[in-house]
Symmetry: C2
Subunit: 391 residues, 2 copies
C-alpha cells in the first residue's frame, strides 16, 4: 500500500470533520469530539491542518450564557472555498458560485438561446461563469476553487435530443478556458441533484429514503435509497415521467401511451385548463394561481393532475418505501394548491406498510435545490480527501 | 478509539480476503495478492489467521501444467463453516444448511401447515432445522455455526396478514431453543434475498444495477442499485406487485384497481386460462406447459400475462436503468414460454437510454436463490469481522 494505515485514517478523519461542518455549519470542537468519536487532541490537530489549508476558521463563539470556558467553534470558510454550480434548463440557464457549507455567494440567470444547437447555450453558461469570476478572487489571496457541477434537465435531453456527448466535451473545453482548470464539470440530472441538496441540507435532511419529484416540461425523480443516490447503470434512472400509468391515455412524445407526464406534465395541465398559450413554467404557475382563485377550468385541470400525481406517488412509495416525498419545480405549486387530492390518492392506493411513515413536502431550498446539489458534486472531491492538492 | 488503526486495517483485510474466497471459491495466493492490493507476506499472515480460526484451508493446487512453483490455493471451509437458511412461503416451508462459499450442504422441505395461526408454521420450520442438526457437527470437531437467515414471501404477509412481529419473536425463540444461540435469524423478503444471491454468485454477478422479479401468489421485486440492496425505510420496498398499471383493470386484494399482479399474478393467469383449480405454483406451471403445447386458452392467458410483464418491466427499467432483469418463481416459466412478448413490450415502451444495456435472464440458482440469499445474510457478520468471537 502506498499510504500507511495511520495516514489513511488521518485523511478519513479530516474528510469526516470537514464534511461535518460543511453539512451542519459552525460547530464547537466539543461537539466534533463527541460526534466524530475522536479525542480532543486529535480534533485539535485535524482543525489545525484544515485551517492551515484555508478550509476552515476557528474562533471563540458568541456569549453562550453558560459557565466555564467556551469551546472553540469551527466554521467552514464559505466565502473563500467555492465551486461553480450550473443549471441547464429548457428555457433558461443558471449559474451560481457556492461556498463550502452550501452558501450561495453569487448567481446569474439568462434565457437559453433558442434552437437545438448546443454551442450558443454552452457559450451562455460560460458567460455567466465569466461574469462571476472577477469577484471570486477578491480580496486577493487564498481563495480555493474546488470544481464545478452541472444540473441538466431531462427535458433538455428529451426535447432537444441532447446527450452527455452533446453537453460534456464542448462545455468542458469552454469552461476549462474560463476557469484555467482541466477538471470538467460533473454532470447530474436536475431531480437527482435537487434530491441530493434537500437530503444534505433541506427538507430531507436525516432521511435515508427520499423521492424528489421535479416538474418542468417533463417529470423526473431524484432518488435516495439507503442514504445513497440511485442513478442506475448509465445515470439514466429516475425517468418516472415515462412510467405508464394510464394505458388508455394520451400518446406521449416518447412513443408510449399514458406516461405519467401525459397526465401531470405542464403541457397536459395547460391543455386541460383550456390554455392555448405555449407551454412554460410561467404559464403553468398562472394556471395554478387561477385555479386557487376559483377559475373552474383551471381548477378541474389542477384536480385532475393532483389526483394523477398522487397515483404515481403511490406506485413509487410501494416500490421504494421512503419516508419523504418532495415536490419541486412546477410540481411544487401543483402540490400546494391541491395537497388533499395528492394525499388522498396516495392513502387510498399505497400499501400501509410502505406509506405509513411518508411525509409530503416542498423543497426547503426552493428553486436553488438543483444548483446547491450541483455544488455538492463539486465539493465531493475536497470532502473525500481535503488535503489532496492534485490539480 | 478502542481499536488501533493497524488492527482496524487488519480486520478489514481479513474480511476482504474471506469475502473474496466466499464469493469466488478456491483462489490462489497469487491472485489474492493482486486482487486485494496487498503484498505476499501480508496475504500469508492473513490466511494463517483465517486457517487457525477454521475458516479456510490452504493447499497445493492440482497440476497446473505451468513451470515454476505453484501458488498455494486458499479454499473456504464450506463443509465446516455454515449457516441455516429458511424460507417461509404460502404453501411450503424450506430450510437448508449452507456452507461458506454458498454451498448447499443439506436441505429439507415441508408443506406449510394450513391456517393463519403462525405457531404450527414456526414449529414446522424449527423441525426442519432440528432434523438437519445432528449431521452438522459430524465428524465431531471444529464446525463453525455463523447464524441464520429467513426469506419471507410477501404473499405470507398479504394473504395471512402476518407482520414482522408475527414472525420474528416466536421464531427467534423457537430457533434459539433448537440452535443453542441467542442470535435471531435475520429476515428478508424472498425477492430481495434472491436478488442478493443472484448478485453474489448467480446471473447478476458483476452487475451493480439489478431487478429480480419473483412471482408466487403475488409479485415482488428485489432491487440492487449501485451495488447495494434497496429495501426502503421499513424493509417494505419492492412491492411492485401493487404498482398500478391498468386503472380500468380488476380489483386487487389490496383495495386498488389494476395492480400489476392483477394482470400477471398466478390467480390472474389461471383465471384467464379458464382454469377453475385453486391457485398454486403447480397449477400455474401446468397451465404454462399447456400453453407451450398449444392449448389456445392457456396460450392466450400466457401471452396476456407476458405482455403485461414486459409493460411493468419497462416502467421499472425507466425508473432504475438496470443492466439485468431476472425472472424468478413462477415468472421464470412465464418468461421462458413467451420471452418474445416480454422483450417486445419492453423494447416498445422503455426509453432507449434506460433499456439499451438490459439483458433478461432466469435465475442461475433456480429455486434455491432465496435460500442462498438468506444464507448470505447469515454470513454477513462473519465476513465483516472474521475473528470477532462475540457470541
Amino acid at each position: 500500500m502506498s499510504t500507511s494505515p495511520q495516514e489513511s485514517v488521518r485523511r478519513q478523519n479530516l474528510g469526516a470533520l470537514l464534511r461535518y461542518v460543511h453539512v451542519r455549519g459552525a460547530t464547537s470542537r466539543a461537539e466534533l469530539t463527541s460526534r466524530l468519536g475522536l479525542n480532543r487532541s486529535t480534533i485539535g490537530a485535524l482543525t489545525a491542518d484544515l485551517a492551515t489549508a484555508g478550509l476552515i476558521d476557528e474562533g471563540v463563539p458568541q456569549e453562550t450564557g453558560r459557565a466555564g470556558r467556551p469551546s472553540i467553534v469551527v466554521r467552514p470558510r464559505s466565502s473563500r472555498v467555492y465551486g461553480y454550480a450550473l443549471s441547464l434548463e429548457l428555457d433558461r440557464v443558471r449559474a451560481a458560485r457556492i461556498g463550502l457549507g452550501g452558501k450561495v455567494l453569487d448567481r446569474r440567470t439568462a434565457a437559453r438561446p433558442d434552437g437545438a444547437d448546443p454551442a450558443p447555450t454552452i457559450a451562455a453558461l460560460a458567460a455567466l461563469v465569466a461574469d462571476m469570476q472577477p469577484a471570486a478572487g477578491r480580496p486577493a489571496g487564498d481563495a480555493v476553487f474546488v470544481g464545478s457541477g452541472l444540473a441538466v434537465s431531462g427535458s433538455v435531453r428529451h426535447h432537444l435530443g441532447w446527450t452527455d456527448e452533446t453537453i460534456e466535451p464542448p462545455l468542458t473545453s469552454a469552461l476549462a478556458d474560463r476557469l484555467g482548470t482541466a477538471r470538467p464539470p460533473i454532470l447530474g440530472g436536475v431531480a437527482d441533484l435537487a434530491a441530493l441538496a434537500e437530503h444534505t441540507r433541506g427538507a430531507a435532511a436525516g432521511a435515508d429514503n427520499v423521492i424528489y419529484l421535479h416538474g418542468d416540461a417533463g417529470i423526473s425523480a431524484g432518488i435516495i435509497a439507503g442514504g445513497r443516490r440511485i442513478t442506475g447503470y448509465g445515470g439514466h434512472g429516475g425517468e418516472v415521467g415515462h412510467m405508464v400509468v394510464n394505458p388508455t391515455g394520451r400518446l406521449c412524445g416518447c412513443g408510449s401511451r399514458g406516461c405519467w407526464e401525459t397526465e401531470i406534465g405542464e403541457r397536459a395541465l395547460l391543455h386541460l385548463a383550456g390554455r392555448t398559450v405555449p407551454t412554460s413554467g410561467a404559464a403553468v404557475a398562472a394556471a395554478v394561481r387561477a385555479a386557487a382563485q376559483g377559475d373552474p377550468d383551471a381548477r378541474a385541470a389542477v384536480v385532475h393532475a393532483a389526483e394523477w400525481l398522487g397515483f404515481g406517488v403511490a406506485n413509487l412509495v410501494n416500490i421504494f418505501n421512503p419516508t419523504i416525498v418532495v415536490f419541486g419545480g412546477t410540481l411544487q405549486q401543483l402540490y400546494l394548491t391541491a395537497a388533499d387530492h395528492v394525499r388522498g390518492r396516495l392513502l387510498a392506493m399505497a400499501l400501509p406498510a410502505c406509506r405509513d411513515h411518508v411525509v409530503l413536502h416542498t423543497p426547503l431550498l426552493g428553486d436553488d435545490a438543483p444548483l446547491v446539489g450541483a455544488a455538492e458534486l463539486a465539493f465531493e472531491r475536497l470532502l473525500a480527501d481535503p488535503l489532496d492538492t492534485t490539480p
